[in-house]
């Protein structure tokens, strides 16, 4: 579904990620784990069109989408939820969700799905996004991304700033979406949560893929256990 080959990207001529290759198959949940500064955000930004890659290729459903701007990528069926969420703070929950479906009208079925998934959003329809708690804003960010009716959702550290209980709830919501057939690609520092959720994963270190495998394989890898699971 998504195939990234030899991707390099960075800022002002300095590549932060280099020669990164990975793929996501339809219906899969795939994680990219790595510590702070490993290049996860840069990698995702260059995949979803917020940053032009300096080399390499991104293909989606067989078609090349390298360097296509973000506003077009979302129309192709890839929704991105950045770690900073990028909500419209002075607009209401409802307006944020409606914009997720731009340029169409919000689909009643999709709206219902989002409200079922996050009942808090239904309660707060008329509240301004900027006045909500971090957890609620994360729900809204995911909800807004879903309004575009994507086939692939890409999330950059969805648990940023969330208390452990809310972080676990975020992954429960993602599991529910997966069960409905949505393909998920997630970058995460909170590795245990992501590992329990994903089928496969890649470990990104210093801008390069260091190792990869199924979540079970990675959970048994001594280096991964030491560096990301805190087990010696």
């Amino acid at each position: 579904m998504l195939e990234v080959t030899g991707l390099a990207a960075g800022y002002e001529g300095n590549d932060v990620v280099e020669d990164v290759s990975f793929h996501v198959d339809p219906g899969e949940a795939v994680m990219i784990i790595g510590s702070n500064g490993a290049g996860k955000t840069t990698l995702f930004r260059s995949v979803v069109g917020l940053l032009a890659p300096s080399s390499g290729e991104v293909r989606y459903e067989g078609a090349g989408i390298t360097g296509v701007p973000a506003q077009r990528i979302v129309r192709l069926g890839i929704s991105f939820v950045p770690a900073e969420r990028r909500l419209f703070p002075r607009m209401t929950v409802q307006e944020n969700l409606a914009l997720g479906a731009y340029p169409g009208r919000p689909d009643p079925g999709t709206t219902e799905l989002v409200m079922d998934l996050f009942p808090r959003l239904a309660e707060r329809r008329r509240q301004r996004a900027g006045t909500m708690s971090g957890g609620e804003q994360q729900m809204l960010a995911v909800g807004r991304a879903l309004m575009a009716d994507p086939r692939l959702i890409v999330l950059d550290e969805p648990t940023t700033g969330l208390a452990p209980k809310l972080a676990a709830e975020a992954y429960e919501a993602l599991s529910a979406l997966r069960d409905r057939g949505l393909t998920v690609l997630v970058a995460e520092q909170q590795v245990p949560l992501a590992m329990a959720f994903s089928d496969r994963g890649y470990v990104l270190e210093n801008g390069r893929i260091r190792t990869q495998g199924t979540s079970a394989e990675l959970a048994d890898d001594p280096d991964v256990r030491r560096a990301y699971l805190g087990i010696t």
Partner: protein
């Protein structure tokens, strides 16, 4: 005193509408359009020529709005191209310099070809008394049109998907891109809209006083002051600040003298920046 306040409101809402176009373009794209007043003047000239050519006033006014929109589009397609390649402060500065250049050229051309030319639309009929003050019909009609334009603007931003999309770019450009909105297209739309609004105010202004070919910089400066006081990117802020400064302007001119009113407006803007850097209703960064 009441007469001053009413005259101030008549002037103030027009200032507010001029400022609305300026503030939207800035809030949306970080572009400071110093040729805003010249767009208004070009539109007024178009209206005067249309009427000279025998057009009735409504089609001639329609022509003026069209010209305003086309000039806005022209700026987007030509002079602002290099500006769009820059970000942040450099972008603001280059847009300021280039549009200032456009303003000088337009002013120079108009002054050379049509020196002393001015537009005034005479609205006949006797004065109408409001709160005991006799108001000219031209002022009242101009105010009614301006308020309808404001209402249309607010409805556009609040109730239409396109209006929400424009607001979303002002709130968070990257967030807007992530939901499929192209900020460049929204900016082009708003440049056209701000041109149409500049023209509309030129038309209504000429019902109150005469608008001459050298009025451009005065309009831009006033709109800029209103924009700063109201808050960058805020249409309601532009309306509120326009009304307040319109009243201040008329009272200052009456009590102290016209020569001091602009100084007092600048002082008001300076005090606002000191007390509320983001303006009365601006978006807090």
């Amino acid at each position: 005193m009441i007469a001053n306040v009413l005259d101030g409101i008549v002037f103030g809402i027009q200032l507010g509408l001029w400022a609305a176009g300026l503030t939207l373009v800035y809030g949306l794209g970080g572009v400071l359009n110093l040729a805003h007043g010249q767009i208004a003047v070009i539109s007024a000239v178009a209206l005067a020529f249309g009427m000279d050519a025998g057009l009735p006033v409504l089609p001639a006014a329609g022509l003026a709005l069209l010209v305003g929109g086309v000039v806005g589009l022209f700026l987007d397609l030509t002079i602002l191209r290099p500006v769009y390649r820059l970000q942040g402060e450099a972008r603001v500065l280059l847009s300021l310099l280039l549009t200032l250049g456009v303003a000088f050229i337009v002013d120079g051309f108009l002054n050379w070809r049509y020196p002393g030319r001015s537009l005034s639309l005479f609205i006949g009929g006797g004065a109408i008394e409001i709160l005991g003050v006799p108001m000219r019909r031209g002022s009242l009609l101009a105010s009614a049109i301006t308020l309808v334009a404001f209402a249309a603007l607010f409805s556009f931003f609040r109730f239409t998907a396109l209006g929400r999309a424009v607001r979303s770019v002002i709130e968070d450009e990257e967030g807007a891109r992530l939901v499929g909105i192209d900020p460049a297209r929204m900016l082009r739309l708003i440049l056209v809209l701000s041109g149409v609004l500049a023209a509309l105010v030129a038309v209504t202004r000429s019902m109150v006083v005469s608008v001459d070919v050298q009025a451009g910089f005065g309009i831009t400066v006033l709109a800029l002051i209103v924009t700063v006081v109201g808050g960058l990117g805020s249409v309601s802020g532009a309306l509120l600040a326009g009304i307040i400064l319109g009243i201040v302007n008329v009272i200052a001119a009456d009590v102290i003298g016209t020569f001091m009113s602009l100084v007092i407006l600048l002082l008001a803007a300076a005090v606002t920046i000191l007390m509320r850097p983001s303006g009365l209703l601006g978006v807090e960064e």
